[in-house]
Symmetry: C2
C-alpha cells in the first residue's frame, strides 16, 4: 500500500505540476531557499536528483527512500543545554514541594539552587536520576499532557522564544524537500521518544510513528477499570551512538539512504547509512556561528561542551568517507524562521 | 507530510473513481468477496463507513486510522505449530552437524529425534533455548537470508504448500480494504520481528516499518571494516499479552482504532484499542473449522493446544465488550487463496 500511495502521489504531483505551474516553472522553484548556493546545497540537490532519476544508475525505489535525522543540534538548538534537560529541571522544580528531601539531596539540590557546577559534577548518573524522578511514575497520557503544556509556556533563555521555534529553517526546508521527493523522514535521536512525539508532527511534519528515540520501560495496568501504560523508572533503550543503527533496524527494518547528524552520537548512524550500496548522503551540521546561534566543538578548534560533542576523530572520518559538513555560518542564509 | 500524502491520495482516488468506474459502480464492488454476508461482515463494513464519513460523528482523521493485526492464527495458520517454531526446528537440524553435543542434550535431542513429547516437556525455557541457538550469533543480514531461503522451500505438513500460502484470504481482503480506506495496517505479533519482515511486504502488503514483534538484542560492530548488527542470544522485547500495548505505544505512539487477534495473547491489545474514545472495532478469529483448517480452543468447547489458546475468560470479555468473534466456519466463504 505504501507503494501504491507513493505511485498515486507521484501521479497527482505530476498532474498538479503540469496544471498549476507548468513543469518548467516548478523546476525553477528553489526547494531550499534558506541555503546559500555552493557545494553543500549542491550535494543535497544532486543526491535527490540522482536517487529519483528512474532512468539513472542510482535510482532508489520509493519504498527504500528513508532519511534519518538526529534532533538535538541537527534540527533544533541544543545549547545552552538539551531542551529535554531544561524540561527535566523545570519538572524537578515543579515537583519539589512534594519532595522536601530534595532540598539537601544531590543532584536535586543542585537543580533547586540553580547550581550548574554541582549539576555537572553529578555526571550522567545524576542526570539519569533527574530524568527518572521527572519522567516516570505516571501514565503515558499524563506525561504527554505535561510535555505539551510545557512546550506552550517554556522559553529559551537566550532567544526568548518557545523552544519549538528554535528549529533550523534550512533543515525544515530539507525535510520538506526530501518528503516531496518521496522520502520518509525519521527522527533518530538520543532524546526521549515520548518527549519528542507530542511536538514532531506540528513542528517537523513527522508523525509519531516516524520518531525513534531513547525510552524508559512502560507497564500495562488496569486502573479503575481502564487500561493505562505506566512509565517505569527503568531504562528501556538508549538511542545514541552505536544504539542508533540498532534503533533504526528495530523500528524501520531498512537501512537509510540519507542520514543527518551533528555530533559524535551520530557517527554510527552515518557509518551504517554509508555502508549500504549505491548512492548515499551523509551530512553533519557544524555549529560555527556564535553570532546567530552557537559555536562549539573541538573539531572546529572551538571549546568542547557537554552537549553535542563533535570530535576531531569524527571530523577525520567525515573527510575520509565523504560525509558533507554543513557550516551553519557559511551554508545557511538564515537559521531560524523568526529571523527577518 | 503524511497528511498531505493522504489528502493527495484521497483526491486522486476520488478522481480515479469518477473517471474509471463511476462512483456508483465502485460502491457496488464488494471489497470482501471471501466473507459470507451476515453480521460479522456488516460489522466491518459498518465500521469503515462510520470512521470514513467526514460528516458523521465517528469520523477518524487519516493520520489516526491505525489498525493492528496479530499474525499467527489471525493472518495465517498457527497449527500444528507456529511457523517460526517449524523454522527453528529445521534450523536446529541443519546446524546439528556442527553441534555433536546436541545428540544427547535436551531440548536439542528431542528435535533431532522428532520427539514432540520430550519437546513439549522442555516447556518455554526449552523453546527459548532452541530459538537462541537458531536465531542468534549472526548478523541481521545473514539471518534475513536464512529466513528468506527457508520460506522458499519449507512446506506445511498438512497442506503441502509453502507457509506463505497458508495466509487467510478473507484477512488479506480485509487488510486491502482497510488500506484503501486510508488505514495504516500494522502487524503486532508475538512472533520474531526479523522472522516476519522478510515476507510481510510481499505476502500482506505490509512494509517492514509496520511490523512489530518480539525481538532479541542486536549489537553494532565493525567486522572487516564494515558495520554489522550482530544478533545476541538475549531477549530484547516480548510482544505478547500485556507486551502488545507496550509495543504499539513504543513503535506507533498512537492508539489503534481497530485491532484483530485470535488468542489470549491478543486480549490486552484489544482492551487497549477499545479503551480509546469514539468508534472502535475489535475482532477475534475463532478456529472452528477442522475441515478446511483447524478447530481448537476451550472457548469453543474444543481441546486446548499450546498454540493460540482462546480461553473462556477471553470469550466472556469479548461478549461483555462487544468484540466481534469471527467464525472461520460460518463467516469465511473460503479460507486460503489456493482453494478452488
Amino acid at each position: 500500500m505504501r507503494i501504491h500511495r507513493h505511485i498515486f502521489l507521484a501521479a497527482v504531483l505530476a498532474f498538479a505540476a503540469g496544471v498549476a505551474f507548468g513543469t518548467r516553472a516548478l523546476a525553477e522553484t528553489d526547494p531550499l531557499p534558506s541555503w546559500n548556493d555552493g557545494p553543500t546545497k549542491e550535494a543535497i540537490v544532486g543526491f535527490v536528483q540522482k536517487v529519483t532519476d528512474r532512468s539513472g544508475p542510482s535510482f532508489v525505489p520509493l519504498k527504500d527512500r528513508i532519511a534519518t535525522f538526529d534532533n538535538d543540534g541537527t534540527l533544533w538548538t541544543e545549547h545552552p543545554m538539551y531542551t529535554q534537560l531544561a524540561f527535566a529541571l523545570d519538572r524537578i522544580k515543579a515537583l519539589a514541594p512534594q519532595h522536601p528531601e530534595w532540598k539537601t539531596q544531590q543532584p536535586f539540590k543542585a537543580v533547586l539552587d540553580n547550581d550548574l557546577k554541582a549539576l555537572a559534577a553529578a555526571g550522567e548518573k545524576g542526570l539519569l536520576e533527574l530524568v527518572m524522578a521527572s519522567h516516570a511514575a505516571m501514565s503515558t497520557a499524563e506525561f504527554e499532557t505535561i510535555v505539551t503544556d510545557w512546550f506552550k509556556t517554556a522559553v529559551h533563555p537566550r532567544f526568548k522564544k518557545p523552544y519549538i521555534e528554535l528549529t533550523y529553517q534550512p533543515m525544515l526546508e530539507l525535510l520538506a524537500y526530501l518528503r516531496s521527493s518521496g522520502f520518509m523522514t525519521y527522527i533518530v535521536s538520543g532524546g526521549g521518544i515520548e518527549f519528542m512525539r507530542p511536538m514532531t508532527e506540528a513542528v517537523y511534519g513527522i508523525p509519531p510513528e516516524q520518531v525513534i528515540g531513547s525510552s524508559i520501560k512502560t507497564k500495562y495496568e488496569i486502573q479503575e477499570g481502564k487500561p493505562v501504560l505506566i512509565r517505569q523508572p527503568e531504562i528501556n533503550f538508549i538511542d545514541d551512538k552505536a544504539g542508533k543503527p540498532v534503533g533504526i533496524n528495530m523500528y524501520i527494518g531498512k537501512r537509510p539512504v540519507a542520514a543527518f547528524g551533528n555530533s559524535d552520537g551520530d557517527r554510527e548512524m552515518l557509518e551504517w547509512t554509508g555502508a549500504g550500496s549505491g548512492t548515499r548522503l551523509m551530512m553533519l551540521v557544524s555549529h560555527d556561528d556564535a553570532n546567530r546561534e552557537y559555536a562549539y566543538g573541538p573539531a572546529n578548534g572551538l571549546p568542547d561542551t557537554k552537549f553535542g560533542t563533535f570530535s576531531q576523530s569524527t571530523m577525520d572520518e567525515a573527510g575520509k568517507k565523504g560525509w558533507v559538513v554543513i557550516s551553519m555560518k557559511d551554508d545557511w542564509k538564515r537559521i531560524f524562521g523568526f529571523e527577518p
